[in-house]
């Protein structure tokens, strides 16, 4: 039979084989160690493959532009991107130091995120709790949601000027709808048994929201935060694109106007790093707030 080949190819089959052989208690240690070794080797393989993917992509890019398969004038070059970053870090951008640009954009994105999440949760829960209000406002919210909200950016620049306020407003609006729809749905999904029970135990309306509705909707709300943060960064950058005096969006717009793809990519890299950091923070928050959830059985896949 093909038994030997199976054992040879797959380490988990190997472990299974051990189990089938009927283990004495003192063999359990060996089994645990073997399983751990299998996990470690898998992790190493995954990380190696990840690194290889990176090297292949960036190296391929560099190579293709060096041999002029791709025109570096349009496609930029990894080394050029790094040089742009170093240049900005050392000499600053055309609008002041690089850190200042990052700070301005982050500031706008975070404020927009905060306002959007706050109003989204409040309005979502309010409309979820008061069906009359939801019925009255429902169509209008749908209409507002149907408007491509980026065009609001132009209006905000006209209304609120070139400063940070117009960017914060655009980011807030983008974030609001994402969080609002999730909070609203979350409130609708609250177990009616839990509500009835809390009412019998004497909960007031506010206590009901605080102890039952909000925690229950939190799963939905937190799921929306991942997307919402992305939207807040988009809001800030697009806002700066449309008219600003500082910020990463302006840096990108300038690089574009100067036919400097390396500058565009460098700014993209910075934004990507920021977004990844924020994603990590939100995941940590999710972990903390939703600690009560049963551990999923597929933890093996999350390295």
């Amino acid at each position: 039979m093909s038994r030997t080949t199976v054992i040879g190819t797959d380490i988990t089959a190997h472990v299974l084989q051990e189990v089938q052989l009927g283990l004495a208690p003192d063999n359990e240690d060996a089994l645990a160690r073997r399983a751990q070794a299998a996990r470690r080797s898998r992790k190493i393989r995954v990380n190696t493959a990840r690194l290889a993917t990176f090297v292949l992509f960036v190296g391929g890019w560099q190579w293709a532009t060096t041999v002029k398969l791709l025109d570096p004038f349009f496609f930029g070059q990894p080394t050029g991107v790094v040089q742009s970053l170093i240049h900005w870090a050392r000499n600053g951008t055309a609008y002041g130091s690089l850190w200042e640009q990052i700070w301005v954009t982050m500031h706008e994105a975070l404020l927009g995120f905060g306002y959007g999440v706050g109003t989204g949760i409040v309005v979502g829960i309010l409309l979820g709790q008061v069906p009359f209000l939801a019925d009255v406002l429902g169509p209008y919210i749908k209409i507002l949601n149907a408007i491509p909200r980026i065009v609001l950016g132009s209006i905000f620049v006209v209304w609120l000027g070139l400063g940070t306020t117009s960017k914060v407003a655009l980011a807030s609006v983008l974030v609001f709808f994402v969080v609002f729809f999730n909070a609203f749905q979350g409130v609708r999904e609250v177990d009616s048994g839990l509500i009835a029970n809390a009412r019998i135990l004497g909960a007031s309306r506010w206590q009901l929201v605080r102890h039952v509705v909000l925690p229950s909707a939190l799963t939905w709300i937190i799921a929306s935060l991942h997307v919402a943060f992305g939207f807040s960064v988009i809001g800030a950058i697009v806002g700066e694109f449309l008219g600003a005096q500082r910020g990463l969006g302006l840096v990108i717009a300038t690089a574009q106007n100067n036919f400097d793809p390396n500058g565009v990519f460098a700014a993209m890299l910075i934004i990507g790093a920021i977004a990844l950091t924020a994603e990590g923070l939100i995941s940590a928050l999710e972990h903390r707030l939703l600690a009560w959830r049963p551990k999923s059985t597929s933890t093996a896949n999350s390295n």
Partner: protein
């Protein structure tokens, strides 16, 4: 203040001519209860048995104040029920523990809702958790407990406000037979301590006779009270597993089953007909 209320004599539950109709989504009217009349004396343990879908749970909803009758009157302690009545606790068929709160958090909800401080509520909750035999599990989340343990936590959560009226909607219906017997014994022991008025709903006649002072049989929908039987088994009853073999228990069982059988058969033929259609 809640404690002072609890020390007062338990109230009488009176239902007179109670009818409850629901409008179905298709526009027709469904009558769940028809002219229900039932009185539960103060401190009495009354069980309602009936086939599935006869409006037992609807009755509890009316007494608890979660719902209002279409006609007739529901009174607790001589007062008409309007909205959730204070001093009433309801234990549901399903688990209603909040999954995001620990056992301690869940059990202390009652005192917190009635305005006690968190420390006070937690101290009280620890006491009740110990009383239902869950000491050591205060910080566990509901999903980490077995079905029986969740019921214990639910029992503690329902009793912590020392209700004068305890309403129970097939509370142990989802448990296995052994766990159910253990929980029934514990419920009786806890009930003997404070003696609230109890309205206990079940489809299990043995459970009803073993626990209650009175058993009311409900007709299949629209539900109404068909007959009421007094259970004269002496108290304290001891283990519910053993009382089932007493001659008097068997006598009562036969009597009540006579009344109940017809309803069960009618409920069955109705669902069977609906299935055949």
């Amino acid at each position: 203040m809640a404690a002072a209320e609890a020390r007062q004599a338990p109230p009488r539950i009176e239902l007179a001519g109670v009818t409850k109709r629901f409008a179905t989504p298709s526009g027709s009217v469904f009558t769940a209860l028809q002219d229900v009349g039932l009185t539960v004396e103060p401190g009495q343990f009354c069980a309602i048995v009936g086939p599935t879908g006869c409006g037992k749970s609807t009755t509890l909803g009316l007494v608890s104040g979660l719902d209002e009758p279409s006609a007739g009157s529901v009174r607790v302690g001589g007062l008409d029920v309007h909205g959730v009545t204070s001093g009433v606790s309801l234990m549901f068929q399903t688990d209603v523990l909040m999954p995001w709160k620990s056992v301690l958090g869940n059990v202390s909800m009652g005192p917190i809702f009635s305005g006690r401080s968190k420390t006070e509520a937690h101290a009280l909750a620890r006491d009740w958790i110990a009383r239902v035999g869950l000491s050591g599990f205060e910080d566990h989340y509901p999903h980490q407990l077995s079905g029986g343990m969740r019921k214990r936590a639910g029992l503690a959560a329902a009793l912590i406000n020392e209700p004068r009226v305890l309403l129970m909607d097939e509370p142990f219906g989802a448990l296995d037979v052994q766990t159910k017997a253990i929980m029934s014994n514990e419920l009786l022991a806890l009930w003997e301590e404070t003696r609230p008025t109890v309205l206990f709903i079940t489809h299990d006649l043995e459970e009803a006779i073993a626990l209650a002072d009175r058993v009311a049989v409900m007709t299949v929908g629209p539900g109404s009270i068909k007959a009421v039987f007094d259970i004269d088994l002496p108290r304290p009853r001891g283990a519910v597993q053993e009382i089932r073999f007493e001659p008097r228990f068997l006598e009562l069982y036969q009597q009540i089953w006579e009344a109940l059988r017809e309803e069960v058969e009618r409920a069955y033929s109705r669902t069977a007909m609906a299935g055949a259609r």
